[in-house]
Amino acid sequence: MTSPKSGNHTDSVTQLDRVTIRFAGDSGDGMQLTGSQFTATTALFGNDVSTLPDYPAEIRAPAGSLPGVSGFQISFSSGDIHTPGDRPDVLVAMNPAALKVNIGDLVPGGGIIVNTDAFNDINLKKAGYAVDPLHDGSLQGYNLYEIPMSTMVTGACEGLGLTSKQIELTKNFFALGVMFWLYERSMAGTEKWIAEKFAGKEAIAEANKRALNAGYAFGETTEIFHTHYRVAPAHLAPGTYRNITGNEATALGFVMASKLAERDLFLASYPITPASDILHQLSSYKHLGIKTVQSEDEIAAIGAAVGAAYGGAMGMTTTSGPGMALKAEMLGLAVMVELPLVVVDVQRAGPSTGMPTKTEQGDLLMSMFGRNSDSPIPVIAPATPAECFTMAIEAWRIALKHMTPVVYLSDAFLATGAEPWKIPQASDLPSIAVENAPPSDRGGFRPYQRDPETLARPWAVPGTKGLEHRIGGLEKLDELGTVSYDPDNHHRMNLLRAEKVARVARDIPATEVWGDAEGELLILGWGSTYGSIRSATERLRERGKSVSHAHLRYLNPLPNDLGDILKRFKRVLLPELNLGQLRMLLRAKYLVDIVGFNLVRGKPFQIGEIEAKAESLLGESVEVSK
């Protein structure tokens, strides 16, 4: 991906369009921090960025071991990018294990920056190296930069009265300093961050600052780097931007939804990776009136959310797959009592505990069908980290207007990945407010009398005079809401619940087809595969291929225009990070022979993988036409 432009080497600066860097080290080495600092600075510089944190579930696996390696990949560009990059151009490896785990991904001829001080006998043995790879010629195909980082920071931090262990912890800032020099980034943002983070611990702050500066100076003064690199700011649409992860955008979206609905937000959640950050962030917004409860378990969390919704608040819960499995029965109750509710499932690799920090799209069918009986629930999915904001609002718009629980399917890649977000004007966003059922002195309140357009029932909250009524999980008599075992009524109620959700399709935007409206191949996707699919489609179209991309945000109900769109293409390819869940739904509904591309490795698709799959399908169709 590193593509030097017109060989501009004056001032020892090489102009690049796009660079992908991976920081890798022990999970205690602060690689996530290093990566996010580089990201923040790079975003502020004006590049388009996309990131992929990749860390083990263990908080601290044994130091120096292969399972303990933590990585953070960032891709940044002067153009529009959609993914964190297939393969890194540069690998920063803080120890032998980090080198071993990541070297296979590096592009041929890519750069490797290593902390040589960590390449001692013990660490080499832990990483399973019989011989030191720095000296056995195995890295000949790469540009290897050997820096004794530990030694350098020891020198830089002399006289601060810190222990050698404390000083050793600053070496990630040294590495960051080197990278800042190499890519012409400013250190100001990170220096400010260090000052704030270590306020009151002046010696530690000073040590980190010195390490950062030492790294920068090392790049500048030593001759091991023959050049440094310039990636010009991207031409993003005018506006004010910030860098944002999917979980941050999701949390802010819910805050916004609460403002737009003029109702209190009530979040009850149980901690679970990779969803907990949404709970953390919303818990810090007490000054906005947001109530949060850390529940005793996943069931209690959704139970409290249902209770809050019953009381007229915006009750919601956040979780990941295993928690979603536990919430199934309560979701069924929410369907039965027809209360608005938003359940966030930040999907991770499964089944069971699976790989908690790794991404997957495996919970679609569970969200659709993972309840007893016919129990329809709208399901929506954001496509990019920044889009989590609008889709979080959208989840609430649907829940409130249609009086239904809504499942919002994010995933680990969206949740922790970051990209620039053009900050919307809060005052421009439309209201999503709905009314409670008004007080009445007529008696005979009918809690299941439906809105003729949406089939939503009234939101009759306790405390409203004259609306005393009883609801529950038992089947309801149509309109009256009293308990009913009448066979025809049950049939009618099941149809009504299905129709109510089906009518949400009248209330969602048309599906956008990027590229041509018809042609050889449509690549269809949902959720976090957006970036890889869009990039692959761009590349294929640049080569003149008849390929278009459509990305679904609404998975239940499906958009009304989807059937026609599918029929306008000779082939449809559906890449999913599962074994074909959406494909099964679409084939069943539209009788279209959609081709799946399914990988479940806990990682996002690489652009090249989708490109190659699409190429092979296009090749097949050529053969067919001959």
């Binding site: 923040a40 975003a43 502020l44 004006g46 993003l236 649409a237 005018p238 004010t240 931007y241 910030r242 944002i244 802010l252 916004m256 403002k259 209190d264 009530f266 009850a268 007490k286 000054h287 906005l288 009136g289 947001i290 109530k291 409860v293 529940s295 005793e296 378990d297 069931i299 209690a300 969390a301 139970g303 409290a304 249902v306 209770g307 809050a308 919704a309 019953y310 009381g311 007229g312 608040a313 009750g315 309560m330 069924g332 109750l333 900050i423 809060a426 005052s427 909250v461 306790p462 405390g463 409203t464 005079k465 609306l467 005393e468 009883r470 609801i471 529950g472 999980g473 038992l474 009293t482």
Partner: protein, 343 residues
């Protein structure tokens, strides 16, 4: 609660239009009647009272109350009450549950609702059996109890509900009996008056699947001698002749006869509902016929800030702290830390 505007309500105001469908002779009828009779006591408008239940025979009660009612799913009523009360501190929330619902499938939620001091009044109908599913052992069934699911007798030690909720720091703990209607009404009244998590165990008879589970000591003919009616500030005296009592020897309770071996009323354990240390509540909860007498009444009543009060207080504090820095700017919140502008 709009108490000032409220017309005086009667039991009839709290009766819904639904036919009551429990087995004839079930103890639940009495509990329902006492519940309806007690409701006017609190001066709370009907629409501001919510009855939430789980699954089991007890779970039907909300349908028969002319208030707001939510018949939820098995074991989870406490979670829904936690959310409702958190979102709507203005409401009066009652939770109706049973021994299977609260102690088995909902055991975890019970513990946490109590420790959080969620301001709910939980009435647990304890009949030591699963009735709605037609007669399986429950967590309060005695060891050896033969049921359809335990044909050779249950091999599991029963839970002592009040011991459990005392360990979970419940701020109000009481026990009564379905057929002791005056006492039951009094206990419901006391539970309703309490601010915080109230737990009232009602010894209830399932005449179909576990008839006479409590008869040994609740029967009119023997209750004076076999039960101990707790009264705050009074020594623990029982017996038709009021000559028996409980003495606390260290942490060991013992039954004594007043007038024998120099025992006087002054030696007896004086009941203190407001005892902050739940240890003595637990000792009391473990006393049982025949070794001891079965205590009924208010075991514990201690003031403690409720979950919703604390939830709201933190929000008020955070708002005040934030207000000192100027009004909340939503646009700034969206912007977060650092931004850049592309023109």
């Amino acid at each position: 609660m709009t108490q000032s505007e409220l017309p005086v309500l009667t039991k009839k105001d709290f009766e819904s239009d639904q036919d009551v469908r429990w087995c004839p002779g079930c103890g639940d009828y009495s509990i329902l009647a006492q519940t309806q009779k007690t409701m006017p006591d609190f001066g709370v408008a009907k629409e501001e009272i919510v009855f939430i239940s789980g699954i089991g025979c007890s779970g039907r009660l909300p349908y028969y109350m002319n208030t707001f009612g939510f018949h939820t799913i098995h074991g989870r009523a406490a979670t829904i009450a936690t959310g409702l009360k958190g979102a709507r501190p203005d409401l009066m929330v009652w939770v109706i549950t049973g021994d299977g619902d609260a102690l088995s499938i909902g055991g975890n939620h019970l513990i946490h609702a109590m420790r959080r001091n969620v301001d709910m009044k939980m009435i647990m109908f304890n009949n030591r059996i699963y009735g709605l599913t037609k007669g399986q052992a429950s967590p309060t069934s005695p060891i050896g109890k033969k049921t359809k699911s335990t044909p050779m007798g249950t091999i599991e030690t029963p839970i002592i509900p009040l011991n459990l909720v005392a360990a979970a720091e419940a701020s109000f703990i009481a026990r009564s009996v379905d057929t002791h209607s005056e006492h039951l009404q009094e206990m419901m009244h006391r539970a309703g008056e309490h601010t915080g998590a109230a737990f009232l165990e009602v010894l209830q008879n399932c005449n179909i699947f576990n008839d006479g589970a409590w008869r040994d000591f609740t029967d009119k003919s023997v209750k004076e001698d076999r039960m101990l009616v707790l009264k705050h500030g009074e020594p623990m005296i029982f017996g038709a002749e009021k000559n028996k009592g409980i003495r606390l020897n260290g942490l060991q309770p013992e039954v004594v006869t007043i007038g024998e071996n120099g025992v006087t009323t002054a030696d007896l354990w004086v009941h203190d509902e407001t005892d902050q240390d739940a240890t003595r509540t637990q000792i009391l909860s473990r006393m049982w016929w025949q070794e001891f007498r079965v205590p009924v009444g208010v075991f514990r009543r201690v003031p403690r800030p409720t979950h919703d009060q604390l939830l709201v207080a933190q929000i008020e504090d955070a708002k005040a702290a934030r207000a000192a820095k100027g009004p909340v700017d939503l646009q700034r919140l969206l912007s977060g830390g650092e931004t850049w502008t592309v023109s």
